[in-house]
Symmetry: C2
Subunit: 273 residues, 2 copies
């Protein structure tokens, strides 16, 4: 049984319904232990104001979403580097346990995924140097291979860990079940990461059928992912972080009463052993 | 430049427009060297009739689509085993260079992908024993991870080759760029397969954006897959099979004049080095 105090609300889960302030208040109301803001909601609230409210609410911050997008200008532009520095600053200001990186897909007009991956490695290194000074852990989120072209060319835990090993300390992996549940090497990857490189653990569910590549994620329990099984692998590493619920759901959960969403999220959490 | 004689028309590419007989005649008309029927079109034509027409047209048969679906009854049922035996018989009758296997996803109501993979291995072994007697090569098609739940729980070339190595002779891989282009281990997987285990090579393209998980594949050249690059890896193995074009495209290619589809397919083939 996963108690609500172990859960974290990723603000994307109620993206269309609530501001960050409303999310913070709701976490307290539902006994949820942490929050993971997206940067747009953080900026909207104001970083210092958000930091104060989160601290006053006694919430942990399981992560800040998100840095990365290194490939968007076809080279490592100053704009991209600077934006990632700002993301580090924001993560530090709110006491985020990691900065989650969606690294970017192919550069515009390019078919060269090897080049994209090299650019990502270069970008991560630049961000990491800055993040180490701020003591903000950088968490590469391997994204499902269906996002390789347009969101992230890092697509498996093993590939992300190879990058981490190359880049050194201060960097690890954000494990989202939606992206990795299918991977025949998942158990080996989680074990390899261990508690040192496993920086975040995100849950939701894979629906059958899935009607949209991006915005049709399921509430934990409504799909086919063996959540208790994967949590068992994560627990075995000694991972002490929160379990973050991140659901993109244009036609279902984003249309519901957000208190109902959190009530069901807490209930489903309890059924994860 | 890939000449049309090196191409094979997978009948799915003009699924809504033509019967198998019409596909055969069109391949001759466009100088396309081979065909790969789906079983529904083959049965509709009649297996013996189809075999005669394909032979008379001088076409190679790059594969028969498809056997597999081992997990659909939650156990290896007689119905599934027998259907795969029939698929082997049909592949033999038309002189198919391989029987393409879409192995099946999770069993109904199950979240256990490890169990699904064990069932698939058991099913492949049963089919393979029968296929060896008929001298029909069995080709596991690793499907994109976005189909792991509902179509195939074998999702990478490496995973498919591990299965092949376990099962022995007479079995290899059908490599479809759509499913594998994103894989950081793709080059290594193709090299490992070599010409002995690389039994088929399918092309199409990954569109950005992709609007449907199943039915929005692109014509080669319209998307982001490095087709010449991957073909180079395949060529390096000494692969002598055809290059099969398989496009599922509900709102575009399936709505066009099929002769236009083949004309463009031939033209795009020439641009693949």
């Amino acid at each position: 049984m996963t108690e609500p105090a172990r859960l974290s609300l990723n603000t994307a889960t109620v993206k269309d319904q609530w501001t960050l302030t409303e999310c913070i208040e709701a976490c307290v109301r539902h006994g949820i232990g942490g929050i993971a803001p997206w940067r747009d909601k953080l900026i909207e609230c104001g970083v210092d104001e958000a930091a104060r409210r989160i601290r006053d609410a006694g919430l942990r911050v399981s992560g800040l979403c998100r840095g990365g997008w290194y490939t968007v200008d076809g080279r490592l532009s100053d704009a991209v580097v600077d934006d990632n520095f700002r993301a580090v600053d924001e993560a530090e200001a709110i006491g985020a346990e990691c900065l989650v990186m969606v690294v970017g897909g192919l550069s515009p007009g390019s078919r060269d995924i090897v080049a994209a991956r090299e650019l990502v490695a270069e970008g991560l290194q630049r961000t990491l140097e800055y993040a180490r000074l701020a003591r903000v852990p950088v968490a590469i989120e391997p994204l499902h291979p269906m996002y390789a072209a347009d969101r992230a060319c890092v697509n498996t835990v093993g590939q992300a860990l190879d990058l981490c090993d190359m880049l050194g300390t201060g960097i690890g992996v954000a494990l989202d079940v939606y992206h990795v549940w299918w991977d025949p090497d998942l158990a080996a990857g989680i074990e390899r990461a261990g508690s040192e490189q496993l920086l975040a653990f995100h849950i939701c569910d894979w629906l059958v059928p899935t009607n949209d590549l991006l915005l049709d994620r399921g509430m934990p329990g409504d799909g086919v992912i063996d959540l208790s099984g994967i949590k068992g692998m994560v627990d075995a590493t000694g991972y002490k972080g929160l379990i973050e619920v991140e659901i993109f759901s244009e036609h279902d959960w984003w249309t519901r009463d957000p208190d109902e969403v959190l009530r069901i999220m807490v209930e489903r959490g309890r059924s994860i052993t």
